[in-house]
């Protein structure tokens, strides 16, 4: 398709703000133009990216040749405009607006959650509008509980309507409205006196005052008593940056305080409220050792040698191939790297795998084969995409940030969304240009039909078989499409999709995202927690690749691939000792209690007691994401740094556990910290040569897929947990917040 004719860039506009010349593109709002020259015009209702309101009148400025003061948030710049933002008239107007606002605003700042970080407080401080001549009784309304997580205090509300807009324009949930009118106006929730929504808490975060407060944070602390640490959310695979606010080793709040990272201010309900499992009383805080059939508390000092002894025993009896290791979707890259090193170089087996929630290895294989390893899209790319093809998955439930990015791309940039799904997912109903609804499990068949350029059977497409033709026709006119696919597309179907996406059927730079469920699902695969791949998707069967790691680790590696997770869990597979890290295979793979009965030894490192820890001979209390440093890789392949925020007595991170175990086996590894491991990863793992300074300053650094992974060994290895917005594998069981909201109790396919 020919490139659209590029319009000549519009001529910039030059104006003067407080005497400072500024040149900006036409159409720029005055309030934004002022920022270019370091002038901050105060405002409450104006919020970048949200609809203009002209409601708070705080941004009134004086423009020469205009009689009245004008709102800088609704005025677009014109050539030669001369603006004054700090003259007496303007300052008096701002002071007046603040005096008006404070007439009915309670001065309960000493007990208000927002005290110390309140935009109204700051504005009053700046304009010295503390004195009031208002001596009438203030209007009062009792506080309302909109949900267990959101409270509304009408008297504090300044009616800036940010909450209404972020819920509507940002979240597409539309849970808020405005009730009554005049001085009695108030924000109203959508279900009588309560909210029925995604409970994302964006409204709380965006509230400039203490009108909307958080059910988990309110009245707990003053903001200046907290220690703030920027890290990465540990729930889904999107990898949102978040700031954990901690006091005395207790997390009290999470929000992306500095709005850095690709998620900006976005966090979903799990990111904003679902961290409370960290401080749960149900946490494992001491090792457990089974004695006489019962798990009893033990010390680390006795547990670790015991594990080594029992595993050595099994190796002696049945050989190293009888030992299996199952890794985690949430632990760090460094931990995953050490985990597979333990298996391969210490125990001497490739029996190392994890619950694969997305088929990253097939994506890498397909891109490598097509010599298109630069075609992985980032989270940011989704926001900027002109067109997006989403196959399978329900991002609104499983990848809330991705869903947010897609909505913003559609709403703000006019991107077109194409959806193939077997359910009426919200994005398909609300944002999609074309939606092909296929029968349950039919996503891969739809890809075959699309890629094979042949018609689909009416049996496959439920909402009109002609949809597929329309789909193909419209997509052909798009360029630079980002193709996003869930775990429904795996194995050969991924190859087919990638080949089609890179073919002339689609124009421009098509890029891809494979979706995996959890915070480091991608990293686990990238780090080689796979029986057929070394780190960086290098086939175990590849002698040269093996040789490289053999010399690096100073060990001999077995020559053929190991057992995958299903084979390890299969009693007839010959596994006698199983080491499980941060995973609950009994539940995930639906095993009966007796299914692991033939094991001679089971060791599990976990945060909480689970269906799997119950069966273990040794249970090790592991550390959460908040208690460790390291890196994780999101579903797009972007690496970001975890920062240690706090500590939980009695626990150890998987990294510490793995280092100690290696030592028990007589291996002194040359690492003292996660950083040491990261340096080795960056130097050795193909695709991971990321710039460390970028990681250090908190950026998301994309990796480049590399390697040549063999095809998927069998069916049933790649599947999604199908978490809802309110669940996160087994950890969400221990989150009060996530379980407290009514919406969590609804069947999770659709809450709307």
């Amino acid at each position: 398709m020919p490139e659209a004719t590029v319009a000549a860039p519009p001529t910039n506009v030059t104006l003067a703000i407080d005497g400072k010349p500024v040149t900006v593109p036409p159409g720029t709002l005055l309030i934004e133009a002022a920022k270019q020259v370091g002038i901050e015009i105060p405002s409450f209702c104006y919020y970048p990216g949200l609809a203009l309101q002209g409601a708070c009148r705080m941004c009134l400025v004086s423009i020469e040749k205009m009689g009245k003061l004008q709102t800088a948030c609704t005025t677009t710049v014109t050539n030669g405009m001369a603006v004054h933002t700090e003259n007496e008239e303007v300052r008096n107007a701002r002071k007046a607006m603040l005096e008006f606002l404070l007439t009915n605003h309670p001065l309960d700042c000493p007990v208000c959650d927002k005290g110390g970080e309140c935009e109204l407080q700051d504005a009053v401080f700046r304009y010295g509008a503390a004195e009031t001549r208002f001596i009438e009784p203030k209007l009062h309304e009792p506080e309302k509980k909109f949900s267990s997580l959101v409270y509304y205090d009408r008297p504090r509300c300044i009616l800036c309507y940010r909450c209404v807009r972020v819920c509507d324009e940002g979240m597409d949930v539309n849970a808020y409205g405005i009730g009554f009118r005049g001085a009695h106006s108030e924000i109203i929730p959508n279900r009588g006196d309560e909210l029925e929504c995604e409970e994302c808490g964006m409204c709380i975060d965006i509230c400039p005052v203490g009108a909307l407060t958080s059910g988990t944070y309110r009245y707990k602390t003053r903001p200046w008593e907290l220690t703030y640490t920027g890290t990465i959310c540990n729930h889904c695979g999107d990898g949102c940056k978040t700031t954990l606010a901690v006091r005395n080793n207790v997390i009290l709040r999470a929000n992306n305080r500095d709005h850095s990272g690709f998620n900006g201010e976005f966090l979903c309900v799990k990111g904003r409220f679902g961290w409370d499992f960290v401080n749960s009383e149900k946490r494992l805080t001491t090792p457990l050792v089974r004695r006489n059939g019962k798990q009893e508390t033990a010390t680390w000092e006795e547990s670790l040698p015991l594990i080594a002894a029992r595993v050595k025993d099994v190796i002696a009896k049945h050989g190293p191939g009888s030992v299996g290791i199952i890794g985690s979707n949430r632990t760090s890259n460094e931990e995953n790297y050490l985990l597979q090193r333990l298996a391969r170089a210490v125990i001497g087996t490739h029996n190392v795998d994890h619950h694969r929630t997305g088929d990253f290895s097939s994506l890498v294989a397909a891109l490598t084969e097509a010599r298109a390893t630069d075609r992985c899209a980032t989270m940011r790319d989704v926001l900027d995409a002109k067109s997006i093809l989403l196959i399978g998955n329900d991002p609104t439930q499983q990848h809330p940030l991705l869903a947010y990015q897609i909505r913003q791309a559609v709403r703000q940039h006019g991107a077109r969304l194409y959806v193939v799904n077997s359910s009426d997912i919200k994005l398909a109903l609300r944002q999609a240009s074309v939606f092909v609804k296929v029968k349950s499990g039919g996503e891969a068949s739809a890809v075959r039909a699309l890629a094979g350029n042949d018609g689909a059977s009416g049996e496959l497409v439920l909402n009109g078989v002609e949809q597929l033709a329309i789909f193909r026709e419209k997509l052909a006119k798009e360029s630079d499409t980002v193709i996003i696919f869930g775990a429904e597309i795996r194995g050969a179907a991924v190859g087919q999709l990638v080949r089609w996406g890179l073919s002339s059927a689609l124009s421009g730079r098509t890029r891809f995202i494979a979706l995996g469920d959890y915070a480091n699902s991608r990293g686990a695969a990238d780090m080689g927690v796979l029986p057929q791949c070394l780190p960086g998707y290098q086939p175990v069967a590849d002698e040269a690749a093996r040789a490289r790691y053999e010399s690096l680790w100073n060990a001999k590696l077995p020559e053929s691939a190991g057992k995958n997770v299903r084979e390890m869990l299969d009693q007839s597979g010959g596994i006698k000792a199983l080491l499980v890290f941060g995973s609950n295979p009994v539940k995930t793979f639906g095993l009966a209690r007796e299914a692991l009965g033939k094991l001679e030894f089971l060791c599990v490192a976990e945060l909480f007691p689970t269906e799997t820890t119950e069966l273990a001979d040794v249970v090790l209390p592991a550390a959460t994401f908040a208690e460790k440093s390291g890196t994780v890789t999101n579903t797009c392949g972007e690496v970001q740094a975890l920062k240690k925020t706090m500590r939980q007595a009695g626990t150890r991170s998987d990294l510490e556990i793995l280092l100690a175990l290696a030592r028990q086996f007589g291996h002194e590894w040359p690492y003292r910290s996660a950083d040491d491991v990261l340096h080795e990863i960056v130097a050795q793992v193909p695709g991971y040569a990321v710039a460390l300074p970028n990681l250090l300053v908190g950026r998301a650094v994309p990796t480049q897929p590399a390697g040549n992974p063999p095809p998927l060994e069998r069916d049933g290895l790649v599947f999604s947990s199908r978490d809802s917005l309110f669940t996160s594998g087994s950890v969400s069981r221990h989150s009060w917040a996530l379980n407290s909201v009514d919406e969590a109790k609804q069947p999770h396919d659709h809450i709307f």
């Binding site: 203009l52 009148r57 007046a96 607006m97 007439t103 001085a183």
Partner: protein, 440 residues
């Protein structure tokens, strides 16, 4: 239904252009209308073409009768011509400015004159759909206008191919539900779209981005009712009825302390003092005039001495610091408590503030609370200045004109009758109420 006798007392000073059918038996029926030049202007307009109509209306000096007083023809000319979007003609029948009750008889006694004006306006701007936004309280008028619209459809003045011209125009009524703010044109459009009646940020103006994002003209009932007459008598003749740049006649609503309150059609520029004395029959019980609000409660009040020879047209009234507004002339005699009068006005604006923007929402509520306390006898010496300051802080700073509508009367009352406010503070009670109790 209104009591015709009480509204239309008649006066020799009246010049009847738009009220000429008032009082005829069955005046609302299309037969009566057709019998007195009805829909002739429409036929003429269809021959003149849109530009011809716009020029004629422009030249007539017709200015918006809702209160703003903007030249109607000029407003119509702002509608962009060659764009593919539909255009809309909306009649603002949300008459709610206190002191104003002129659109009521226009719809009650001569709905076809209005409908004809709307069709002509629609034709001029290239609209094919019109709405009459009638305030909720005027339910009986909604029924009358609905009936008249049905009649007009039946006779081919509405619908497809009007009078064989090839021009199509659909018209429907729309009821409000109690909101003064919806008289503001952008709030009216939001209301007509089914939303809360919040005003919109301007620019863009409705002539460019209005109803459903399409070019829209919103005109008052009286404005549109003038259009057929203008086309029939010609712009020049119409303009001559009034003063320079203030063409035609105006329906004045005389209310308050006059012997003959009523709606009178007088030439633009008719002197205010004579209006009170000669048209309204003077002040009851031989009392003296204290003050007049010349154009509905949002206009600055005039002291008795300011009314002498004051020509009631937009420019002359503006010159002495008030506004002709919506034509609601509210007369107050010497025994009127100006504190109470202002309190009642501010109570209204506080009740009607939509609450969207801060200065209006909080400012009107503050003025109401302060004036209530002051009138009740709990005033403090700072009150008059505080109220004045608060009013100035509202003035010119709100999103829509409602803020000014609240601030302007407050400023004028507080400045011109300050001593009464101070007296309330000093006495600790309202002297007028005390007097009434003593007398009663």
């Amino acid at each position: 239904m209104s009591d015709y006798e009480s509204y239309m007392k008649g006066s020799p000073h009246e010049v009847k252009v738009i009220s000429k059918r008032f009082g005829l038996p069955n005046s609302a029926s299309i037969d009566v209308y057709l019998a007195s030049d009805g829909y002739k202007a429409l036929k003429k307009a269809l021959e003149m073409g849109p530009d011809g109509v716009i020029n004629e209306v422009k030249n007539s000096g017709l200015r918006g009768r809702g209160g703003a007083g903007f030249n109607t023809g000029l407003k119509w000319s702002f509608v962009p011509r060659n764009i593919p979007k539909p255009r809309y003609m909306v009649c603002n029948a949300d008459e709610s400015e206190p002191g104003t009750c002129k659109d009521r008889p226009l719809m009650e006694y001569d709905p076809h004159q209005l409908i004809e004006g709307i069709i002509i306006g629609g034709f001029a701007i290239g609209a094919h759909q019109g709405y009459v936004y009638v305030r909720g309280e005027y339910r009986y008028l909604l029924d009358i206008v609905d009936r008249a619209i049905d009649e007009a459809y039946a006779q081919g003045f509405l619908g497809k191919n009007i009078c064989g011209s090839g021009y199509d125009f659909e018209l429907a009524t729309h009821t409000g539900a109690g909101a003064y703010e919806c008289g503001e044109e952008t709030a009216l459009l939001n209301s007509l779209e089914g939303l809360r009646g919040y005003p919109r940020v301007k620019p863009p103006f409705p002539a460019v981005v209005g109803l459903y994002g399409c070019p829209t003209i919103v005109n008052n009932v009286e404005t549109l009712s003038n259009v057929p007459g203008i086309l029939l008598m010609g712009a020049e003749a119409y303009a001559k009825l009034g003063t320079a740049k203030n063409g035609g006649t105006r329906l004045f609503c005389l209310s308050g302390h006059v012997n003959r309150p009523g709606v009178y059609e007088l030439p633009m520029g008719f002197p205010l003092d004579r209006m009170i004395e000669e048209v309204g029959g003077g002040i009851p019980d031989g009392k003296k005039l204290k003050a007049v609000i010349p154009g509905g409660s949002s206009c600055p009040v005039l002291k008795a001495e300011e009314t002498a020879g004051l020509a009631m047209d937009f420019d002359s009234v503006a010159k002495i610091g008030s506004m002709l507004g919506s034509g609601g002339v509210i007369v107050m005699d010497e025994d009127t408590c100006m504190v109470k009068a202002l309190l009642r006005i501010e109570k209204f604006y506080a009740h009607e503030s939509c609450g969207w923007c801060i200065p209006c929402r909080e400012g009107t509520a503050w003025l109401k609370a302060l004036l209530t306390r002051l009138h009740d006898g709990a005033g403090v010496p700072e009150d008059p200045d505080t109220a004045l300051d608060a009013s100035f802080n509202i003035l010119g700073k709100t999103l829509c004109p409602l803020g000014d509508a609240a601030a302007l009367p407050a400023i004028s009352f507080l400045k011109k009758f300050r001593s009464e406010f101070e007296e309330h503070v000093k006495l600790g009670y309202c002297p007028h109420e005390r007097k009434a109790v003593a007398a009663g």
